[in-house]
Symmetry: C2
Subunit: 323 residues, 2 copies
């Protein structure tokens, strides 16, 4: 099995990760965005990590799209009775994860250690790595000023127009040793069908990360992305509106244009096949398939097809010309 | 209605408070021990305050003796599944209280403000005041060294022999302005049937507090205590064993001896009526009644009788002799 690294945000990235794990087992490493992480009620919450880890453990609530299946809401309901507005709904079982994590971080564990230990305890076969152990916080510039990501995303239901995006703290962040090793060891890298701006963006913004990807490509590791925009609509979340308001094209081609510098190939949905020439024009190979991962079989199929597509792009490592 | 101040710890003090509130309504102020307070999972937990406040709001679980009625345990069960040992069981609804409180404290509210606001939100008629806004932590000296109170009380099930008790931080603690005003305004002060060493002890150890009580007595305010030891047994908790291992008598008379310097009178159970002469010998008036507060009627009856007993001890304020 090839060793595959996926860069991922939440739901879309998690579905592809689930398919990749079904095919690859422990040969999959997912590097997750931590820019959405935040603290609420003093608890450290990692939305993207947990969505991916819960999905890979088979514990996710597929219908709701976040959190755990068979969840209850007694704590939040009681908070509401105390007069609070629990706009960030944390399920009872999910809260246990946050309590456990916050305890470990308070004890001085590195986020990567906390993540790996949590994955072991809930039964994740693959490896899920936070993109960095440093604090990076995605902030959304709107007409009403800068909003913390979750304020924009959950509390304000993504309604404010997005004028600008920044990743506070990213300048001094570094990829972890585990992230570096995973990319260096990868046979293929897949950028998942996650929001290219606020899910993939923070990962690529970590100093040194795009250099690591470039070095891997030079060493013969193909890098492909899977579009999270299908028929001009984000499958989940505000990526389409965000692309538009930031002056980008809200299409698979718009995503491809954003990520092109880092890619060899781009997978998109068959309904967007008419965009293939435009994407090819960016210098990318393309592959069109049914990218809707509605069930386990579809996830595994898209995973297998993405792996095969990437494998087909493998070139011999470029040898520096003797001079 | 007389304005009554009760000094209280957890369950026993809460039952009497409940009876007093039924009789007095808003004319009751309960000053609660904060020495048992602690931080778990980053959440600030106030066992005695919450037992009293939940009881006064009619939300307590009478059978369990702590926490809320109709409680669920999803968070703790999920923590256990993560491999943790949740020896301090926090119910789901109870957790909401701790989350809410911890948020307010983090925002910089004084503990007294947090307490009063919480009471307003859950519907407490009386006033419940933390004994201090400073951090005081009861610690138990055992043959195995010093243990934090909850470590001794909950985790170790009160099994280690108690050699010594200390209240860390009490030297620099001060009674709050609210506590001072309540004692100054009180027509009667009642020391509830709580553990005299670890529930009442910390309150009396606050610098200036016994002086406030002495000043109130000089001004004509009777102070009485109700025994929490009945027939040589603590009604709840380890007070009996603690008294013995600290070289005290584990009887109502032993409690009376401990508290005598601050008291005019001492109420005890009729089954301990044979101890009345011994207690009278301490200079205290006594009153024997059925002190077991098994239901609302019994609570109100003990409250009424305790108020009447204290009223009967009222003396004219001592007038400094003109010189």
């Amino acid at each position: 099995m090839p060793r595959v690294v996926e860069l991922a945000g939440g739901v879309g990235g998690a579905k592809l990760a689930d398919g990749l794990q079904a095919v690859l087992g422990p040969d999959l490493t997912v590097i997750v965005n931590t820019g959405d992480d935040f603290v609420r009620h003093g608890l450290t919450i990692w939305p993207d990590h947990d969505t991916v880890a819960y999905t890979l453990a088979g514990l996710d609530d597929a219908e709701r799209g976040w959190g755990l299946a068979d969840e209850t809401w007694h704590v939040m309901d009681a908070l509401a009775r105390l007069g609070e507005d629990p706009w960030f709904r944390l399920g009872d079982r999910d809260l246990a994860t946050h309590l456990w994590r916050t305890d470990r971080l308070r004890e001085g564990w590195r986020p990567t250690e906390v993540a790996r230990q949590l994955q072991a305890r809930i039964g994740v076969t693959a490896t899920v790595l936070p993109m960095t152990d440093s604090e990076v916080r995605t902030e959304i510039g709107t007409d009403e000023g800068w909003l913390e990501f979750q304020e924009y995303f959950v509390h304000r239901h993504q309604t404010p127009e997005v004028r600008e995006v920044r990743f506070r703290g990213v300048e001094t962040a570094a990829p972890t040793a585990e992230v570096v090793a995973a990319i260096e060891a990868a046979d293929l890298v897949v950028i998942g069908p996650s929001n290219p701006i606020v899910s993939i963006g923070p990962i690529l913004a970590i100093p040194g990360l795009t250099d690591l990807l470039a070095k891997a490509r030079r060493a013969g590791t193909p890098i492909v992305a899977v579009s999270g925009i299908v028929g001009g609509r984000a499958l989940k979340g505000p990526a389409d509106r965000m692309l538009t308001s930031l002056g980008r094209e809200a299409t698979a081609a718009g995503v491809a244009a954003l990520l092109a510098p880092h890619l060899d190939g781009f997978a998109l949905d068959t309904i967007d096949a008419d965009l293939e020439p435009e994407i090819a024009h960016l210098g990318l190979r393309t592959f069109a398939t049914d990218t809707i991962m509605s069930d386990d079989d579809a996830r595994a199929r898209v995973a297998r097809e993405t792996i095969a597509f990437a494998e087909s792009l493998r070139r011999p490592a470029s040898v520096p010309s003797a001079s």
